[in-house]
C-alpha cells in the first residue's frame, strides 16, 4: 500500500494554518516515527491519512486513488487510526465488544472475528480483561484496548498517536512487540511520539515536523546526527545518543550496546 501526499495544506475554519504544504510518500512496512514540537501539526496530518480531516489544498493518494473518492468509513478497511486520547475512542460496554465492533462493520465472518480476538487480546495483553468495561481499565490498558480494536480490523496501515504516554517498562516492551508484529506481517506502522528512547528503539525511518511542515526525514542516523535541525522542532536526541555526541564519538549510538562498543573502540583506537 502506498500513500502519497502532495502539497497538503490544511486551514482551520478559524483561519489558522495547521499544515503548510506537505510532500511525502509512505510505502513498505518499515515502521515510521513522526516527531516534532507540540502544535507542529502531527495529529492534524495523521487525521488526513484516513480522511477524518480533508485537505484544504493539495491531495492524498492511496494506491493512486484520491482520498476524496471515499468516506473515512471506507478507508478504515485499509488505514487504522488509534486516537491519542483513548477516552475519545472507546464507546462500548466491554473490551470484547470494542474488539468486535470494527470487524463487524467490515463484514468479517464470525469465526474469523473470534480467531482475531484470541490473537489480538494476547498481543495487547488484555486476554483476561475481555469482559471488563473499558471505563474500568487503567490508562495504559485503555490505550492497549484502543490499539487492539484497530488491530482487529487488520488494516494495511496503522497509525498510533502518542502510544507511549504513561507507559512503564512492560508497556513499552509490549508496544515493541506490536510494532515488530506489524512489520513482520507486511503492515506499515506510523507512530506519532515525543519519546525519543522509544523512537530509536523501534523506528529507523523518521519524519520531523515543525510549524505545519516536514523539516526533515530519513533514517535515524541521519535525523539524530543533525541536532541543529532537530532543535528547531523542539526535539533532542535520546540520552545515550547525547552522551556519545558530547564525547565526540565518531559513530552515533542509540543503544547501550552500541555506545559501549563505540566507546571502547575509541579507547583502543591509538
Amino acid at each position: 500500500m502506498k500513500i502519497e501526499i502532495k502539497n497538503l495544506k490544511h486551514k482551520y475554519p478559524s483561519g489558522g494554518e495547521a499544515l503548510r504544504g506537505i510532500n511525502t510518500a509512505f510505502e513498505g512496512s518499515d515502521p515510521i516515527a513522526i516527531i516534532g514540537q507540540n502544535g507542529a501539526g502531527k495529529t492534524t496530518f495523521a487525521k488526513h491519512l484516513n480522511g477524518l480531516l480533508r485537505p484544504t489544498e493539495g491531495q492524498i493518494l492511496i494506491d493512486g486513488e484520491s482520498i476524496h473518492e471515499h468516506t473515512t468509513a471506507y478507508w478504515s478497511k485499509y488505514i487504522g487510526y488509534v486516537f491519542q486520547n483513548p477516552d475519545n475512542q472507546l464507546f462500548l460496554e466491554t473490551v470484547r465488544k470494542e474488539f468486535e465492533f470494527g470487524p463487524k462493520q467490515l463484514g468479517v465472518p464470525r469465526h474469523e472475528i473470534n480467531d482475531r480476538i484470541d490473537f489480538v487480546s494476547e498481543l495487547v495483553g488484555l486476554k483476561h480483561r475481555l469482559s471488563t468495561h473499558p471505563f474500568d481499565l487503567n490508562a495504559t490498558e485503555k490505550k492497549f484496548c484502543t490499539i487492539g480494536s484497530i488491530l482487529m480490523m487488520d488494516p494495511k496501515v496503522i497509525i498510533l498517536d502518542e502510544p507511549t504516554c504513561g507507559q512503564d517498562v512492560e508497556g513499552n516492551q509490549r508496544l515493541t512487540e506490536i510494532i515488530t508484529y506489524l512489520k513482520n506481517n507486511d503492515r506499515l506502522c506510523i507512530t506519532i511520539t515525543h519519546d525519543m528512547k522509544f523512537v530509536v528503539r523501534n523506528f529507523d525511518q523518521i519524519v520531523v515536523m515543525a510549524k505545519g511542515q516536514i523539516l526533515m526525514s530519513g533514517s535515524k542516523n541521519l535525523v539524530f546526527s543533525d541536532t541543529k535541525t532537530l532543535l528547531e522542532s523542539y526535539v533532542t536526541p535520546p540520552p545515550i545518543t547525547r552522551v556519545g555526541q558530547a564525547l565526540g564519538l565518531k559513530d552515533i549510538s542509540f543503544s547501550k550496546e552500541e555506545f559501549i562498543d563505540h566507546f571502547t573502540r575509541r579507547l583502543h583506537q591509538r
Partner: protein, 292 residues
C-alpha cells in the same frame, strides 16, 4: 532545620469493589523543601498514593483505609479536600481532567482556583499574567480550554496548580504530552519552584529525569514501598530489576565501560556526570598513551 511536611504512617487502602489492596502499609516521610520521586510499574499504587496525599482518598473515593496521613500537621481524613488544597496541589495524569469545564477561556480557567480562595480580581490579573509568561501560555489566554491540544492543556493544567502557590506540589506524570524541549522547560520551572522552597512529589517513568532532579526516590510495587533512598542508593541497588524498574541509561553505560574500582566512583546517574566521567577516562587514557 528541616521539618516533616508529609507523614504517611502505615497507610493501607482498598478501593470499594476491588478485591486487592491498592496501598499496603505505606510508610513515608517527606521533609519540607524535598524533591521526591515515586517510580514503579503501572498499577503499583503511585497514582493512588497521589490521591491519598491530597485527601481525595479517603474524602472523595469510596473505600477502606487504615493508618493515617498528615500534611502540614493536618490529618487528611479529618479536613476537607478544599482545605487541604491551600497547602497541597495535584496535577493529574490526564491534563483534561484538570479542567473545571466551567471556563470559557484559559484565563478564566486559571482564575478558577483563585476565585474559590477569594483572591481579589486585580490580584488575579497580575497572577495570571505572571504564570502565563512563566508557562509560555500567554497566547492561549483567550482560547477555549477545551479546544487546545494535549500539550497545551498540559501546560494549562500545571499552571492552574502552580498559580495557587501550594507548599507542596504533587505531579502525576505531568509532561507526557509535551515535546522533549517543552518537557525540559517545564522541568526547569519545577526545579526552580523546588529551589524556592516548594516541596515536590513527582510520579514519573523517565529515570534520567528522576536521577537528575530528585533528592529521594521511592519504588512502589503492588501497593508497597519496596525501596527508598537517594537516587544513588536506589539506582545502584541490586534489587532494582525485581521491581520492573531500570536505572538511568547513564548508569548502565558508565558502569559497563569503566572497570570496577578504576576510580572512586565508577558510575554516573546524570548526563553531566556521565559526560564528565567518560571524558576523564578518555583524556587519562590519552595521557598514558606516550608512555605506553
Amino acid at each position: 532545620m528541616t521539618s516533616t511536611l508529609i507523614q504517611v504512617s502505615h497507610f493501607s487502602y482498598r478501593y470499594n469493589q476491588e478485591s486487592e489492596v491498592a496501598l499496603k502499609n505505606v510508610h513515608l516521610e517527606v521533609a519540607a523543601g524535598e524533591f521526591v520521586a515515586m517510580i514503579g510499574a503501572n498499577g503499583s499504587g503511585k497514582s493512588t498514593l497521589c490521591n491519598a496525599l491530597v485527601g481525595l482518598i479517603p474524602n472523595y473515593f469510596v473505600g477502606y483505609s487504615e493508618g493515617r496521613i498528615t500534611v502540614d500537621g493536618k490529618d487528611t481524613a479529618s479536613v476537607s479536600v478544599g482545605e487541604l488544597s491551600q497547602t497541597i496541589g495535584l496535577v493529574f495524569q490526564n491534563p483534561f481532567n484538570q479542567l473545571s469545564y466551567t471556563a470559557d477561556t484559559v484565563a478564566e480557567e486559571l482564575a478558577y482556583g483563585l476565585g474559590n480562595r477569594g483572591v481579589p480580581r486585580d490580584e488575579m490579573f497580575s497572577k495570571i499574567k505572571k504564570i502565563a509568561e512563566l508557562m509560555q501560555i500567554d497566547e492561549l489566554l483567550d482560547k477555549n480550554p477545551l479546544e487546545l491540544s494535549g500539550g497545551q492543556v498540559q501546560r494549562v493544567a500545571l499552571a492552574s496548580a502552580i498559580i495557587l502557590e501550594p507548599k507542596i506540589l504533587v505531579l502525576d506524570e505531568c509532561t507526557t504530552q509535551l515535546d522533549p524541549i517543552g518537557s525540559e522547560q517545564i522541568m526547569d520551572i519545577i526545579k526552580k519552584l523546588n529551589e524556592s522552597g516548594i516541596t515536590i512529589v513527582m510520579v514519573d517513568h523517565d529515570m534520567e529525569r528522576v536521577a537528575e532532579l530528585a533528592d529521594k526516590v521511592y519504588v512502589l510495587q503492588h501497593g508497597s514501598i519496596v525501596l527508598g533512598g537517594t537516587p544513588e542508593e536506589v539506582f545502584c541497588s541490586p534489587q532494582l530489576a525485581e521491581f520492573s524498574v531500570s536505572p538511568p541509561d547513564y548508569y548502565e553505560i558508565t558502569k559497563n565501560v569503566i572497570q570496577p574500582g578504576y576510580r572512586e566512583k565508577d558510575f554516573a546517574l546524570t548526563e553531566s556526570q556521565a559526560i564528565a566521567l567518560l571524558q576523564e577516562v578518555l583524556y587519562e587514557d590519552r595521557n598514558q598513551e606516550p608512555q605506553a
